[in-house]
């Protein structure tokens, strides 16, 4: 279902939890609400579900205003962080609950529940109680229960937070596949950027009650619109005086402009490894951490500590060694705006080199 949210506001006492939030979600999309804890993500989700009243603003499903509609009449499915399974009901009864409430004939209830049990891989567990299931299985039950009444919108609050790291990976892929197969508009809340990037079609970054940015994971990664988004997504080092770095001298020191540099914007190595040696500058290796698939290198350049990666295929560096460092680009921001700047010297015409 198509969802429109306009100027949503919510206060809890003196705390302004959600500030003027507006967004649109297209039918069939899977959206991740990503942000730090206490940022208002869950409040937004609960307002969409009707579990929380809103102070001002509009929520429209299919163009119809649903502000005053109770959760029972919104046609949504909600998966709670701790699943909130009915602990005194079996798996079957849990999934059947929403159908029985609607007074659907029991033969039909049974076939629908069995269909969902099949779909969620819970076959053989129908007679068990929630406390007899593993975390992953409970999650699947919660999911099946929410889907049973065929909702138009599926809302998931930190769906993987309570699951072991190992199974979490598997469940993520499973969930993404399943949602695609069912074709239901879904919104999930998470504070884990890997999860959001991996599962969501589109991400909304929420911080301090505001939507910082909305877009595909790739867009957000590539072009963060605010400093918060830039620091929150991916790794980065914050540099106060970016003019110290070669290729960025034109940024004035006292302009209040600061820079975020991602590890993958930086290349480090011996002089002969660079094609454009003139753009590099000297650095000293301070630390080396083996990361399993690559080296994490801490290198000091002009008094700044930068973090980057280095492939295991390349010649191994050692601590204290002098190396060349090339900063490809930096994400710059000041109080008015933010922009991405490529290294000046990289743009120098090839003729210079000849």
């Amino acid at each position: 279902m198509h969802i429109e949210v306009r100027n949503l506001n919510k206060h809890f006492g003196d705390f302004h939890a959600v500030k003027d939030v507006s967004f649109d979600i297209e039918k069939g999309h899977l959206i991740g609400l990503l942000g730090p804890s206490g940022g208002g993500k869950t409040s937004i989700l609960r307002m969409l579900a009707g579990l929380e009243g809103l102070d001002s603003g509009e929520i429209r499903f299919h163009g119809k205003l649903v502000n005053a509609l109770p959760p029972q009449e919104r046609g949504i499915g909600f998966v709670f962080q701790n699943y909130a399974l009915f602990k005194h009901m079996t798996v079957f009864d849990n999934i059947a609950f929403g159908l029985k409430v609607k007074k659907i004939p029991s033969a039909k209830v049974k076939s629908r529940v069995m269909e969902l049990v099949e779909l969620t891989g819970l076959k053989g567990f129908e007679k068990r109680y929630p406390h007899q299931l593993s975390g992953g299985q409970r999650q699947r039950v919660a999911f099946a229960r929410a889907l049973a009444p065929e909702p138009q919108l599926l809302l998931l609050d930190e769906p993987f937070a309570a699951i072991d790291a190992k199974i979490r990976q598997e469940l993520r892929t499973w969930l993404k596949d399943l949602i695609e197969r069912v074709g239901i508009t879904s919104i999930f809340v998470t504070h884990d950027q890997d999860e959001a990037i991996e599962v969501a079609d589109e991400i909304m970054i929420i911080n301090q009650g505001r939507v910082e940015q909305k877009g595909t994971p790739w867009d957000i990664y590539k072009e963060p619109k605010t400093p918060f988004v830039a620091t929150f997504i991916g790794e980065s080092t914050l540099i106060d005086h970016v003019s110290d770095l070669k290729g960025f001298e034109e940024i004035k020191k006292d302009s209040g402009t600061r820079a975020l540099i991602r590890p993958e914007y930086i290349e480090v190595g011996h002089e002969h490894e660079f094609i454009l040696a003139s753009a590099t500058e000297a650095g000293i290796i301070r630390h080396l951490h083996f990361r399993g698939s690559e080296w994490l290198v801490e290198v000091e350049v002009a008094g700044h500590k930068l973090i980057t990666y280095r492939s295991l295929e390349k010649e191994t560096l050692s601590i204290g060694q002098e190396v060349r460092v090339l900063v490809h680009r930096a994400y710059l921001f000041n109080e008015e705006r933010s922009w991405i700047m490529e290294n000046r010297l990289k743009d120098v015409p090839v003729s210079m080199m000849i």
Partner: protein
Amino acid sequence: MKKYWITLTYIVFIVLIIIPLLKIGSGAFSEGFSGWKDSLIRPEAIHALLVTGLVVVVVTCINTLFGVMMAIYLVRSHWLSRKIKSFLNSLVDLPYAVSPVIGGLMIVLLLGPESIMGGFFENIGFRVVYAFPGMVIATLFVTFPLMVREVMPVLQEIGAQQEEAASTLGAYGWTTFWKVTWPSIQWAVLYGVVLTVARSLGEFGAVLVVSGNIMNKTQTATTLVYQDVENFNVIAANSVALVLAAISIGLLLMMEWTKRRKGVS
């Protein structure tokens, strides 16, 4: 050292609880079984036990209903602000702090024949104080916190999420309560019922003040025991007390049982 402490514990229990209990038993049967039976089939004894039974049933029904609802409102309601809820919550405990005699006095002052409200009821031919309704009100006052205090922590512990889940699945308040909330609180409610029964069965001070202790009319089992003691009719007092003690022990066993069930579910 350990043995010494255990022995001491046993001594305290035996002196403070077990011997007195046995004393009641031996006192009741000091003139044989027939003495016990004769004391119990006195018309005033039968009447007093019936009145007590009636008070227990009425009070338990009313306070179970209102206690559970009050607990739900205090824990879950959105329509009361948090400050009002915590204020009401602290008021719930007041009857604990009030001496039963004062509890009875309050009702006499408020609803007695000389008061405004009491006078009004008197005029329409409805006697409150020195009659059955007053005794019920006094007992309601004394037992009100029991149910609320049993149900509230359970509601807080299970949280609102299961109920919210039910509402997103299309269930309204009534269905949600019976299908989702009730199974979680049922043992706490039963425990509260047992406590309320025990307390209203044993209530003495408040009822004594409110009832006026009129034989064959407003006398309850406990006030009868009091009167028998005052009249030095020890065997009669013991006989009724033994019945009350036996019921209490039965209730105690039920408390233990429900407590265990409460822990399991």
